[in-house]
Symmetry: C2
């Protein structure tokens, strides 16, 4: 099924529009930007995991030569903020207490970074230490201090999903098994740390250059916390050196830079150190997931009952959403007629957690797909077979109403298995060699928050140059290229004719940004529609000129002709001259919009359809375990993903590869080591992301499923879902190699050795 022949730009492995600038080092990131009279900001952080702030004395810091302003929480409006106003629990700078080591206490603006740092040393803070709660179990013990007032047992939120007849499922079960898994918090590790430059001008208008995934939401949050009208804030997103979810929120630096600029009348830049980026922004939610599954002996899933403890750290951030997503996505990609999940988001005195590629779903998939392999083994069913048997397909509706409009999941499983030669390998590998499989379903067009709809504008200039104005945020994932391809295709011009201006709330149309795998669907449709609308206006003029009907005209290769008669064409440029000389306004402006058909007013109930459509995927890993050292060598991975249609095969390949890199680190090497609330490895030397030596050989397979008409030309997300089944594939392969299911990540050599020793001693 190759849909690509009908296209001239879509489906081609074109170089990214930002490739040259990035490859030559000329792309400008926040730290490359300067403004006259710019000051540098630094933030004072709490040395206590949990303490009341009694007094802050900034007098000495203020007196230091070169210091232009010092602020504490009391110098900011008392405005709590959060990703969702319902869960707002955070001040940009703490007012009354600190809740983790690294919490934001005060900020300084000075003529240089060194002076700002010296000023921090001069700020005296008097704390009254409180008991620190460092894990979800300690936090929810009765009688412990409330990290946020009124949150009993430090439970921030609860989600209870109850769909289908769960009791009956367990009554009917021929086999029941329960397992508990723990997925550790991980750091996003973007190459570029968090950075901001703010300029509060003399008209009270604020311009902020920030490496953000969600410019329009940041605008809203800055407006809220600084008490300035939204339209007075312009958030410009320069090049961004990676986000992965970690740049999808507002942090102290953003608010502080703005306020310090307002106070000093000078631009202020704040760049987080690697340590601040790792400790004081966000990390993935650590989740402890217990699943009990009711099965028929033939491998049919009857129902699942489970609990989930999600560790929020010191603040909510996206915790409620992550907990919800983990809970609801238990229901994909396997048919589960009855589900009961009781999920809890729990505060601790640890660095706060937030969104990361695969947000919540990844943790659940680790638990559920590894759990499934243990079941399969006990039932004597091949792991591929049990997945095929229970796989959802087009037209399926989950117990909690998720509507599968299109589905390439079975294709993903079979094509991945073919690629790796599953049948030849499974059960036939030498000792300590293993093979593991996993599946996943994910959001493609998250529909959970208000105003998820996207708008786009296409400007066509008189020489045929096209500008796409989109609020979508290119953060390195390739959205600029993807969107430009859609517009180029619509207008019959090569990619190079389309320039993208993206993620600037001052000039680009509203778009919520890069999260929830919504750009492919939402922003993609908006851009496509904008191109189509601009083209319609041009074609109307051309139709008159050519004495043809608009609907009979074809635009391709910078030419416009009547269908079937390409020899009698006029050039795109000529068409624009005709347009212009009719005294029609330049540029031609096409406005496009897309709003997913379903709204979810209260996703928190987990009983609605959270996405415009869903992507699916399957992964297979092969590993070799060294019984002497415990070292796991990840040999090969297949990453098969239902992309709907490939808009750019090279970009798809990049995502399929990159996802394996992040997943490999998560499975095998990455861990934020914390002792009494203090992060012991806050740098990229000690926090071990996967190096080239840990990387397997990756086979990427893009499965093009039958279009459901949701995404542009049927395209689906291909950047988050691609990482989701990496963990269980690897862990299941280790399970196959060793017979040991590792239920706590990462699977380090130490853990392997210890487990092997215990097994050989007759344990496990």
């Amino acid at each position: 099924m190759d849909k690509r022949n009908e296209f001239s730009v879509i489906g081609k492995p074109l170089a990214r529009v930002d490739a040259n600038e990035k490859a030559t080092g000329k792309a400008q990131y926040v730290d490359d930007l300067t403004l006259p009279n710019m000051l540098y900001g630094k933030i004072l952080r709490s040395p206590h995991a949990h303490a009341k702030i009694r007094r802050i004395d900034t007098a000495a810091a203020r007196k230091l030569s070169g210091v232009k302003a010092v602020i504490t929480g009391m110098d900011l409006p008392a405005k709590l903020y959060g990703t969702d106003p319902r869960f707002a629990d955070e001040y940009a700078l703490c007012r009354d207490k600190v809740r983790y080591i690294g919490d934001d206490v005060a900020a300084v603006a000075a003529v240089d970074e060194e002076t700002a740092e010296r000023a921090l040393d001069l700020i005296q803070v008097e704390y009254e230490p409180l008991e620190g709660l460092f894990d979800v179990y300690a936090a929810r013990e009765p009688g412990k201090p409330e990290i946020h007032e009124g949150k009993k047992n430090n439970i921030s939120q609860e989600i209870h999903l109850n769909a289908g007849e769960v009791e009956k499922a367990f009554k009917d079960a021929e086999y029941v098994r329960e397992d508990t898994f723990f997925s550790q918090p991980t750091y996003h590790a973007p190459l570029e740390p968090h950075a901001v430059m703010a300029r509060w001008d003399e008209n009270g208008k604020l311009t902020v250059w920030g490496n953000k995934q969600i410019p329009f939401y940041i605008r809203r949050l800055l407006s809220h916390t600084l008490e300035i009208p939204e339209s007075h804030v312009r958030l410009i997103k320069p090049y961004v050196g990676g986000g992965f979810g970690g740049k999808g929120e507002m942090f102290a630096l953003d608010v502080c830079a703005c306020r310090l600029s307002q106070m000093t009348g000078r631009p202020v830049k704040i760049i987080y150190t690697r340590e601040e980026s790792l400790v004081c922004t966000r990390r993935r939610h650590g989740m402890t997931i217990t699943l009990k599954t009711a099965m028929k002996k033939d491998g049919t899933i009857l129902g699942v009952q489970g609990t989930l403890l999600s560790e929020s750290g010191a603040y909510n951030a996206t915790g409620p959403l992550a907990t919800y997503l983990a809970t609801t996505f238990l229901n994909l990609p396997y048919k589960i007629p009855a589900v009961k999940m009781d999920s809890y988001l729990i505060y601790t005195n640890l660095p706060p957690a937030g969104p990361q590629r695969g947000h919540g779903v990844l943790q659940m998939r680790y638990a559920a797909d590894c759990h499934l392999d243990v079941i399969a083994k006990e039932l004597g069913i091949d792991p591929l077979e049990i997945r095929l048997k229970n796989a959802v397909s087009q037209g399926y509706r989950t117990a909690n109403n998720m509507n599968v409009k299109s589905c390439g999941f079975t294709d993903c499983l079979t094509r991945a298995a073919e690629k790796i030669n599953w049948k030849a390998k499974k059960g036939k590998l030498p000792p300590y060699h293993g093979i593991g499989i996993s599946g996943m379903g994910y959001l493609s067009g998250c529909n959970l928050v208000p105003h998820t709809g996207a708008a786009a504008l296409v400007h066509v200039h008189e020489d045929g140059g096209i500008k796409l104005l989109t609020g979508a945020a290119e953060i390195g994932q390739g959205s600029d290229t993807y969107l430009a391809q859609l517009v180029a295709e619509e207008m019959g011009v090569p990619l190079e004719d389309v320039q993208v201006i993206s993620g600037d709330t001052g000039i680009t149309p509203y778009d919520p940004g890069t999260f929830g795998s919504r750009v492919a669907t939402m922003s993609g449709n908006a851009a496509k529609n904008a191109g189509r609308e601009a083209m319609r206006q041009i074609l109307e003029v051309v139709a008159e000129e050519m004495e043809a009907k608009v609907e009979d005209l074809v635009a391709r290769d910078r030419k416009i002709f009547v269908k079937g008669a390409p020899e009698k064409s006029i050039s795109f440029r000529k068409a624009l001259k005709i347009y212009m000389y009719r005294d029609l306004p330049m540029p031609v402006v096409g406005q496009g919009f897309y709003q997913a058909p379903v709204h979810v007013p209260d996703w928190f109930k987990a009983e609605d359809d959270p996405s415009a459509t869903y992507s699916f995927g399957a992964q297979i890993a092969t590993v070799v375990v060294d019984p002497e050292t415990g070292k796991i060598s990840l040999k090969e991975m297949v990453n098969a993903h239902d992309v709907g249609i490939m808009i750019n095969p090279m970009a798809v390949e990049g995502q399929l590869q990159g996802s394996i890199h992040m997943g490999t680190g998560h499975a095998l090497t990455e861990d934020i080591i914390i002792k009494d609330g203090l992060v012991m490895n806050p740098d990229l030397l000690e926090y071990k992301i996967a190096s080239p030596f840990e990387m397997p050989f990756v086979y990427g397979i893009a499965v093009e499923s039958e279009s459901d008409g949701v995404g542009p030309h049927g395209a689906k997300e291909c950047g988050e879902g691609t990482q989701i089944s990496t963990l269980p594939a690897i862990v299941n392969a280790i399970y196959d190699a060793t017979g040991i299911m590792f239920k706590e990540l990462p699977v380090t050599p130490e853990k392997v050795l210890k487990a092997l020793k215990k097994k050989n001693e007759g344990g496990n």
Copy 2:
């Protein structure tokens, strides 16, 4: 006639939208901008007024440490450019010969300005000197060298206007008189010199930050000279420190910075010194104008016959246009039934001339209005009376087809006369005291070049914030404020709710820019229409909500209500919430456009209507001449101007005052002194613009004429025309004080003393 009561934003003396940023010194001009790895460029200039270039050796300059690139004319595409392609005669860097002292020969990019300057010294150029032609008379002598090949007698262009029965007029004449006047070249003297920063990126896209009046034309010229598609060039106009016409063209620095950036792969900035700004950009056209007028003895003008020699300097630039404007505007503001003008644009080996506030018309008005005073005196008619007698009025069509759709000229004359108490003063002042009057008519919406139409976009954000995207270029004249007021009025919000993004070819719609007094009419209508269109979309939703008709709704003070029922309103912000929650795309986008009704395909014939409408004005000066020193004290000036309607009285007042400042300098003190082609006073110490001590007390009168429906709410230009009759008012006042008509500007004390001496000795 106060039209202002019906408005809430229009007609109010509101502070400029850029006032705070400018007053606090925070507005960023090109020189304030920096980019990583930026280089600095400098240009090598010709020491010869006229010479062939035999050889340029750049080897030594290239070898200098810190020099990154050196270019000559041969390193640029061989593309002649000019304001109008028909008159293109200029290379960014000379290829074969130089034509004035200061002509652009080579350019260097280096790590700092000092190094770049040292590199210039190392470039060896071998010249073959040619005879220099330093005035229009020498230049058109037979047998002289051709400054541009093929231009016989160095006449670049000729314009011959012949309208009405001129021969008959002179046959019927009861009185005939001929005078010759010379108006000297003057420098624009903007506070900010010419500056550019260019960045040629790795995708071959070019971004240029330039202090330009005409971003879209510069984009076109850069595209042409650098052979790069227009849409690959983005011209961003930061704050501009004054233009006055002098930043209305492309200069060597623009092309060189771009090419040097392309070659080095690094951003390049070039800032002209004051000397370069004065000598090597443009200056006003020196014009020698002879007028012979046929009169009836009662003061009725029957016809005029004249010749005009316009000094182009080394290149055409806007010379053809200036010559045309001077020629055609002989026909306003006095009725001349028959006109014959023979006008010549002549090359010399002097710095090239270009547009300056009042472009050509000002020079003609000096000649014609002073000539008229000599006639009036000889006929024994009061100068005010002779003007009133011949004044054009609404509905008049000049001999050469200029269509006077509205006209406040008579009002200007009478109100100015009342203000200064003309009747009490004229003929009744003490010796050496004088009073002089003058009139003028000017373009309001120049319609001479292709694509003079303007487009604008209004974006309305969800909180009611409004962005106006306009290609019009704010250069200090106040267009951002003017346009924002029009949009605010249209949308019923205060001015502060409208932010303007202007003059950025990458994101703002097409607009030719700031020249020909077209912004008030063209850009004004486009902005107004864009606001109206955005509002229409919002009102449609509100109408449904309020169960009313769109046409019955009124928007005012951030509220929308049914006409006559303001108590039942909904707020603008609420209206937008309603709009957004109907899943309509954000922002609301309104597109506006305006194209003047008449096209002038070939203005060069001087027989068509060159403007959408015309502004008019009258000025009166009072002076005291010191017979001992020749010093002229300008005491008072009235500047009465037909503005149609005042959009912003404070801005109007600023223009009325500022025009007198420039006109005073032109009349009395400013002169570019040249010896053998070399400018002797290329700085603001020796080139004497009027200081506060030369300034008279200025009375500004804004005459609001009956609307002709052309400009927005009937508004007309009020920034160029306001300066046009300053010269003749002052010179006529000196004539009144001394009995001597000064026919060469400026009227310096030396000239006055010499003339008084001659008169007392029985001369004149």
